[in-house]
Amino acid sequence: MSSPEVIYVWRWLIRDTFRQAMANYVFWVMLAASAVVIVFCLSVSIQRGGPLRPADDIALFEAPKKDPQRALDARPRGSLTLAFGAWPIPLGRDGVAAVRDLLLLLAEWVVGAGGTLLALIWTAGFLPEFLQPASATVLLSKPTPRWVLLMGKYLGVLTFAGFQVTVFIVGTWLALGLRTGFWVNSYLWGIPLLLLQFAAVYSFSVLLAVLTRSTLVCVFGSVIFWFLCWGLNYGRHCMLALQSSMPPLGSGLRGMVEACYWIMPKPVDLGMILQNALQAEDVFRSFEELQTIQRIGEFHPVLSMLTSFAFAVVMIVVAARQLGSTDY
């Protein structure tokens, strides 16, 4: 099968996945959820959100000025208002920091945790449905190789997830930028990072779908696997961050944790990369262990991304080989 033919078939499979998502209402529900959050962002405004201290008061190598009046000026002065001014929240620092905090909250928790969970649950049934013997036998008797079908469906789900993430991230970025005047462009890194996280976890769901053809197994399997990855990722960082204050772990256990960490997807690391990109770490304090791990040089963002990507590739290759040798 030539490359243009493969791309042609993938295009149709991507289109089919979108039709499947629309028919299951998952497409519209996720779009509606994004719209709600975008409207929420449009309701945000910053009142007197200038720098916390006068510019001439920032002196790294001088003793702080003791003028009592200046100390009064140094108190938070502005506020962030939600719901079109109905709910004011005093600013902890300045306006741009408040926007960065809000963006990090949206990227890490609303779409990174909530969105990923919903997408995993809703899309987990796509492949088992596609691979049910009664419908798959006809598909698999076409000249298109099985790996092309599987990969096309995987790409279809990723395109769907990518579309939803893009709508959410770009929509909230535009809404907050327009309302507050602070354009935090690094927030847009959330699109590839969140998609990478989803791609890695969903690849495991693909393997489960090929092995079992059960929606239930895929839903629970992928969600449990995601939590397991999170736990392993965080656990490894804790192990390294606390090694000086805790009794030493056995080399076998330590080696096993390290091996699992490097093999598995790394959702915590991807979140830390986004947090660093947003420069939100000073004001939206992450776990102490995660700061320590960065300080001691045991956090490798590029390797974290590459190994998460490699995990997805290996899972898809294994799933394709398994599907290729399955009797229908």
């Binding site: 099968m1 078939v9 039709r19 009664a134 008797s141």
Partner: protein, 257 residues
Amino acid sequence: MSAVAEFEDVGKVYPTGLLGRGGRLAVEHVSLRINQGEVFALLGPNRAGKTTLVKILLSLCRPTAGRSLRFGRPVGERQTLARVGYVHENPAFPRYLSATALLEFYGALALLTESNARSRTAQLLEVVGLADRGHEPIARFSKGMVQRLALAQALLNDPELLVLDEPSEGLDLAGRRLVRDVIAERRKRGFTVLLVSHVLGEVEQVCDRLGVLVGGHLVKSGAVAELARDPKTGARCPLEQALERLYAQPGERGACA
């Protein structure tokens, strides 16, 4: 006459049990040749191995013994599947698609160009009598309509080999006539049809040759007229009677293959 499908001493054992240590025999020592331009029927009781043989021919499962060829090439080479159409015994299609969307999608998977798939879709919906329901979701289709749709998707690539696994299941009289008309049209154009059916009237009416599988073994193959003849007197007898005799006499295994 060139062979469209050939099986040489083919066997298939499905793995069973934990880690596939056990096995269930589906077909064994089957040798069969289906020639170009003929309508060949594969008959046998339930669990005789008919569908397994069809699946081997369509690369849906791999034989554990013997050699299988499709258009003179090993069945593992998928390119020749572009010349095959297949109707499954219990067809099921994505319920969220309309008949038109499904045929265009399956046309793409059969590697038809977009414009060709579109024109074939319109043409085939007309042929199977679904032209006025083309934009309705398949979820609203009756079993007979799904069966007609299955026939349409099998004809998308104008196949040289049409494999029909119990195509009349769930069809009304008009639907059954449609199946017979399609088979007659394929034969007229010099194409091959492999029919798996329990409807013996249909087999007698449209098939040139047949093969009978019992317990995974090919117990008889030959012309339909030859089988519908009493082996002792040579007088013509109903096909059903001849088959009942074959199904009940596993001793005939291999002798007539």
